[in-house]
Amino acid sequence: MRPYFEKMAEFGKELKKSQLERAKENIQQVKTVEDGVAEAVDAVKNAGFPTEKINARGQMTVWQRLEYLLDPGTWCPLHTLYNPMDNEIGHTNVVDGLGKISGKWAAIIGFDNKYIAGAWIPGQSENIFRVTDLAKRLHIPLVWLVNCSGVKLDEQEKFYANRRGSGTTFFRHAELEQYGIPVLAGIYGTNPAGGGYQGISPTILFAHKNCNIAVGGGGILSGMSPKGYFDEEGAEQLIDAAKKYKVEPPGSVKIHYDETGFFRYVYEKEEEVLDGLKDYMKDMPSYNPKFFRVAEPKEPKFTDEDLYRLLPMNQKQVYSFDDILARLVDGSENMEFRPDYGPEVYTGLCKMDGFLVGCIGNRQGFLGKGYPEYADYPGIGGKLYRQGLIKLNEFVTLCGRDRVPIIWFQDTSGIDVGDIAEKAELLGLGQSLIYSIQQTDVPMMLVVLRKGTAAAHYIMGGPNANRHNVFTLGTAATEIYVMHGETAAVATYSRRLVKEKEGDRPLDPIIEAMNKLAQEYHDNSRPIYCAKYGLVDEVVPLDTMRKYLKAFAGAVYQNPKSICPQHQMILPRSIKG
């Protein structure tokens, strides 16, 4: 299929002088938000014990272990700011992302041993599910750096039990193994109880000589107080027992290497554990990239610095989505699907690091006279209309048929509304798109370039497409909410305003409440909020975006569950005609 893919049609325009001039303020606005995100990320990395203190104990921090383990330049961190239960430490006590080890993509996660020795804390299980899901959807190995002291006892009620509690993560490991996805674990430190299952549940265990894994910890001295409460006498007994307690914690290498053989390998040095993982990763199942590449990888024709000029922070300002996409895909080349239909959305085949991907994005601005064809009002990009929804359904379905992964870009204010839109079947076509996505069974990712709003946020491959969306990225300009804050304030309070007016009562309290609600919508939709509560999986600087897109494409094509021979694809033929 060389004639189709080796050289596709170039697209995107160079920036004009006037654009360069006008964008100066925008660059500053984007960088200010990106700097704020970087500051928050630094705070997470520096939380807990200082690195020197961990190193003085003869241990590496999780960050040092990751640096040693990963192929340089491949790390794409995810969930760095994720902290849905608002832990004081600012994270969920695990560090994760997508990266290469010995040339193979893996989902990688490690306990942060700088905070209470890597204990389970609130929100952590949800973070872990996102990573086991990442491995499952990409069909790539999961690599754990286990170092887990068990449950943070004073908050256990928030995460220990329940359907999606910390113990559920072990079922997820078993589920991955069910799908033939290996889970490798380097094990360090003391790992009692839940920590023990963190150690035993993976497929192959690489142990440091000082580690242990056990059903329970040695620190549990005598269970419940015999009196049913604690008093001074009981406290004295505990002090005495604790002083005498000098037994080595259960489940050491002596037991689980020499006796049970649970540990497949044991290493003297911390680095050697990581060397063991690296060595094993060489043998993990993967295709040579040439098996799937449709062309040699090449950089876009335009610099990604242009993205800082092209993506406006002003949410009302329109821009060219095609120009943005041309800064992200190989050679700034594409094969656009149905360019003369559904002008509010771009759909097309592009190359990412030489791999074929389907790209979808909302176009912005006035859509031209007579569109949408079913209405007497003008169509504006960012909204979805009948033709756009039909085109999206067709494109997604064909990508599924041809086993082409999809990269979605959202900047959407929603789907057209009103009786005219209902008559045009937009509600049904939106749900049809959900059905189409579900039918594809191909991995997808999403970039929320600017607005992710209303139903359009979920029907356009949002994180709610939970079985398909591998991860979602935010930008400095991202804002996600069901509707704009001012619209929400009107929807909530307009009838109340009428009542107060008719009752001849003062309007000030209602107006104040409206402004408060609008402000809350604003504050609770910004990039850092979205990252903290998992509305996005990471907020990424614009000049780092392509790195994530390449990682996604590379990981998808490493060991896919199914294959469509290039010469049997229909989508490129459908585009060519």
Binding site: R22, V318, Q364, G365, P378, G382
Partner: protein
């Protein structure tokens, strides 16, 4: 040859990006119309000089109203 720049849709003139006498290139932003909560740019249809601007910021315009003339 004079060319009229027409409003592509009804809205309010949000911003004039050029003044009479300015040189413009094809596809330069000339005027921004605010409509349906978005700022829609109107572009120069060809290279030329702005001969006349028929609207001011804040004006309401209808579809196909003449906004400016370039020569």
């Amino acid at each position: 040859m004079a060319q009229e720049i027409l409003a592509p849709l009804a809205g309010k003139i949000f911003k004039l990006q050029v003044a009479v006498g300015d040189q413009v290139e094809e596809d330069d932003e000339v005027i921004i119309i605010e409509a349906m909560k978005m700022e829609t740019p109107v572009f120069a249809p060809a290279d030329g000089t702005v001969k006349e601007i028929k609207v001011k910021e804040g004006d309401a315009v209808e579809e196909d109203d003449v906004l400016a003339v370039i020569e």
